[in-house]
């Protein structure tokens, strides 16, 4: 049985393809393509590497001309780079997607309830389901917003929850919650547009669920937060400016929603109201989708040296005159140590068992965990709790002694700042290797974007599949050499 498909797999682009003992999203262990991938595999097999290469160049050019770039600062000049796009899509079957959707919805609702509680009555602390010290020692816990009413009790309007498929079990599990200002959704939408333009034949005979309703849904939710009612709602997207690495996304979303993209200097607070400065005078602002971090939002409340925010903004917010999305202080919910308690939140607030598993986590702030972590560093992944973007991280198995020793010292000096997890062998998807001119397995994660309107969670089918394009790399962050793929959720069974 297995011998025939294996021969098929060796033709053309897939010559010499090896699943390497990992869970391969496209191939079964037998070498046969999984059912959702069967048609795509046939199409790709019929393509010469040169044809594929041609389309790849077309896609790259399209991203360049559209200026869909991000900025890296490592070279000191802030160079614009293309976010590498891999033409081979990642496919998720309908049944698997239903499972993911259920798990994410549950998680988002629980995270929202936690935030509402922790900045309100703090019942969960009174019930001793999470250590008070862990919450209060979180650098992103904002005492300034305790007791502040947020519109419609929503804190987590937009969440990007990172999922990975564990090769050992073949199961999706949650790696990280991003509930502050997750970015990347613009790539989901643009990837799809570029994909349909450069590779239209790949969509033939497949019913791929559309993703382009995201901006409309986001706009609906933002509108519903307006203190003056929806009909008059003046919504803005607040960006740190063109030098921010996600600037493209900020302007993309503003444009798609048909709202103003503003910088801090465009806004002014007067008499407890927020206004934007127009050529005709001041116009009141009701809802701010802010892509500026908490600590820079208001120099009167947070960092006094910030020029990105609007002085007095928090006062206007506290008075109920302007809504902010996401809410201030959400960082306490995606702190990597608090992450270990999210299954507990689900049980505590919803009385349900978590649908999606979390990765086993050692919290260095707990003395028993700290000892274990210090002794097992070469097998573990260590993460700084408040960092994102793949910074402040140690991957034990891929690090040398010196680096491991360095981390051991850092952890001992500041245990609260670190957690450790076993290395999750991420699943792989066939991806094009431009230097070898062939297709090879590369590790991926998945970041679906969840929108919460206070009643239900809406998730655009799929999300952003990030791929570690470097051979053997497990780090998928764009700032660390990662790329992305179009992600397809199929309608109906396949």
């Amino acid at each position: 049985m297995g011998a025939v498909p294996k021969q098929i797999a060796k033709r053309g682009l897939f010559e010499g393809y090896d699943t390497g003992g990992f869970y391969d999203e496209m191939f079964l262990a037998s070498g046969q393509p999984r059912p959702p991938y069967a048609r795509l595999f046939q199409k790709l097999c019929g393509m010469a590497p040169s044809q594929f290469e041609e389309r790849r160049k077309l896609a790259d050019l399209s991203f360049l001309i559209q200026g869909i770039t991000f900025t890296v600062y490592s070279d000191g000049r802030g160079t614009e780079r293309l976010f590498p796009f891999d033409l081979i899509p990642r496919i998720i079957s309908a049944s698997e997607w239903r499972h993911i959707e259920r798990g994410l919805s549950q998680r988002v609702v629980a995270l929202n309830l936690f935030l509402h509680d922790i900045y309100g009555r703090q019942q969960i602390l009174a019930d001793r389901r999470i250590p008070r010290s862990l919450v209060y020692s979180c650098p992103h816990f904002r005492r300034e917003v305790i007791g502040v009413d947020v519109a419609r009790s929503i804190h987590t309007h937009i969440c990007g929850i990172d999922l990975v498929r564990d090769s050992k079990t073949g199961e999706f599990c949650v790696l990280e919650d991003n509930v502050r200002t997750p970015s990347g959704v613009s790539y989901v939408l643009e990837n799809r547009i570029v994909m349909t333009r450069t590779f239209p034949d790949a969509f033939e005979d497949l019913q791929v669920l559309p993703v382009n309703h995201y901006p409309a849904e986001l706009s609906r939710i933002l509108r519903s937060l307006s203190p003056r009612g929806e009909s008059e709602a003046q919504i803005v997207v607040l960006t740190p400016g063109i030098y921010n690495s996600a600037y493209f996304e900020h302007s993309f979303l503003a444009q798609q929603m048909g709202v103003e993209l503003v910088e801090g200097r465009d806004l002014i607070v007067d008499g407890g109201m927020v206004y934007m400065k127009t050529i005709r005078g001041l116009t009141r602002v009701d809802v701010i989708y802010r892509r500026v971090d908490d600590e820079f939002l208001d120099s009167l409340t947070f960092r006094a040296d910030s020029v990105l925010g609007v002085p007095g903004l928090m006062g206007a917010h506290r008075a109920g005159n302007v809504a902010l999305a996401n809410a201030v202080g959400n960082g306490v919910a995606d702190d990597k140590a608090i992450y270990a308690y999210v299954p507990e939140f689900i049980r505590y607030y919803l009385g349900e068992e978590p649908v999606l598993r979390s990765v086993e986590t050692y919290i260095c702030a707990r003395p028993e965990d700290l000892g274990y972590v210090r002794d097992h560093l070469p097998e573990l992944v260590v993460k700084a709790v408040g960092e994102s973007g793949g910074y402040g991280m140690l991957i034990g198995p891929a690090s040398d002694r010196a680096r491991i020793d360095e981390f051991r010292q850092r952890i001992s000096a500041d245990p609260r700042n670190y957690i450790a997890q076993p290395v999750v062998p991420l699943s792989r998807v066939p991806s094009y290797d431009a230097t070898e001119h062939c297709v090879a397995g590369r590790h991926v994660d998945l970041r679906p974007y969840c929108l919460y309107d206070g009643d239900k969670v809406t998730i655009v089918p799929g999300g952003l599949t990030r791929v570690a394009l470097q051979k053997n790399s497990l780090v998928v962050n764009s700032s660390q050499g990662g790329g992305s793929k179009d992600t397809w959720v199929l309608r109906g069974e396949n």
Partner: protein, 318 residues
């Protein structure tokens, strides 16, 4: 419309116009100068640097004023803020800050222009001469005008672009006439044919050569060239036409009627248009061309400042 967006539109237009104007002047002059003797050669490069207002910077960077140096300086140098590449890069930067407010076509066009311009290798272009490069820039700018005109709603944002374009153009034409006139009349006595060549170059640099011949009879006379470039009612590069465009753009934004003004920028633009409409070229020469053009340039500067004061800046309410 946000003040910042209006400001970015205004400057987007100005930078594109400045890049185009510099490319035109560089191209035409370069070819004219190559036909001349070595002696007048040295002299004629200087006006380009003076016109760009970058004399000091140039002297610090180069030991000698020659074709290659001037071309490199005006086209490619990153440390010359008014070089063509810098202007295009600033235009694109402005477009990028407002890309949600301009058409996708405009953004892709200017982004493409930026990548195209940066794709040129300075060394190769200097060896080949400026025509190829300047031509691409010129037509790139024209295309951007066209794309803008065809895809952006002609609303108040478009009128800020229009005002920016016209103000920059008027000022550049004024500088061009001033510098060339001064240089050509005060330079060493030259044969008539050579002078003729120079005036042809001036006309060509603003695309007015053909139009001149339809209006005036040969030979080309300096006074008529000046009349054409300063006072022509319809030529899109004349100062008068540019001033009228600035005024029209500002009026469209404020809604002022004929004979009225809503702010200082409009008042000054109106005054400039009136002067250019009723002055005769003979009067201008009688009172001194240089002084007259200097007045125009300083009025353009004031109009720019007053536009900013009226629409872009907010007094800080502490």
């Amino acid at each position: 419309m946000l003040s910042r967006i209006a400001e970015s539109l205004f400057w987007l237009a100005r930078y594109i116009e400045r890049a185009e104007g510099t490319a035109r002047i560089l191209d035409v002059n370069y070819h004219m100068l190559l036909e001349q003797s070595q002696q007048s050669y040295r002299l004629r490069w200087e006006p380009l640097i003076i016109m760009a207002g970058e004399e000091d910077r140039f002297r610090k960077l180069y030991p000698e004023v020659n074709a290659a140096n001037v071309f490199e300086f005006l086209a490619f140098r990153a440390d010359n803020p008014s070089s063509i590449l810098q202007c295009i890069s600033k235009a694109r930067e402005n477009a990028r800050t407002i890309r949600d407010r301009i058409s996708r076509e405009m953004w892709e066009d200017i982004n493409g222009l930026f990548h195209m311009a940066n794709g040129f290798v300075a060394k190769d272009e200097i060896a080949a001469g400026p025509h190829r490069f300047c031509d691409k820039i010129k037509f790139g700018a024209h295309r951007f005008h066209g794309v803008t005109d065809a895809t952006l709603p002609h609303d108040e944002g478009w009128h800020f672009l229009r005002a920016g374009w016209a103000l920059e153009r008027g000022e550049m034409t004024a500088r061009l006439v001033d510098v060339q006139y001064h240089n050509l009349l005060d330079g060493p006595p030259a044969a008539n044919a050579l002078d003729n060549h120079q005036w042809m170059a001036v006309l060509r640099s603003v695309g007015a050569y053909e139009a001149y011949h339809r209006q005036y009879h040969p030979p080309i006379e300096p006074e008529k060239v000046a009349e054409m470039l300063i006072l022509h009612l319809q030529h899109p590069h004349s100062i008068r036409y540019s001033a009228t465009e600035v005024q029209a753009g500002l009026r469209a934004v404020s809604g002022s009627n004929y004979g009225h003004y809503a702010n200082e920028a409009e008042r000054l633009a109106g005054r400039l248009v009136e002067r250019l409409s009723y002055d005769r070229i003979a009067d201008i020469f009688q009172q001194g061309l240089h002084g007259y053009l200097n007045d125009v340039i300083s009025m353009c500067g004031s109009i720019g400042e007053d536009i900013a004061r009226t629409y872009f800046y907010y007094a800080v309410v502490a």
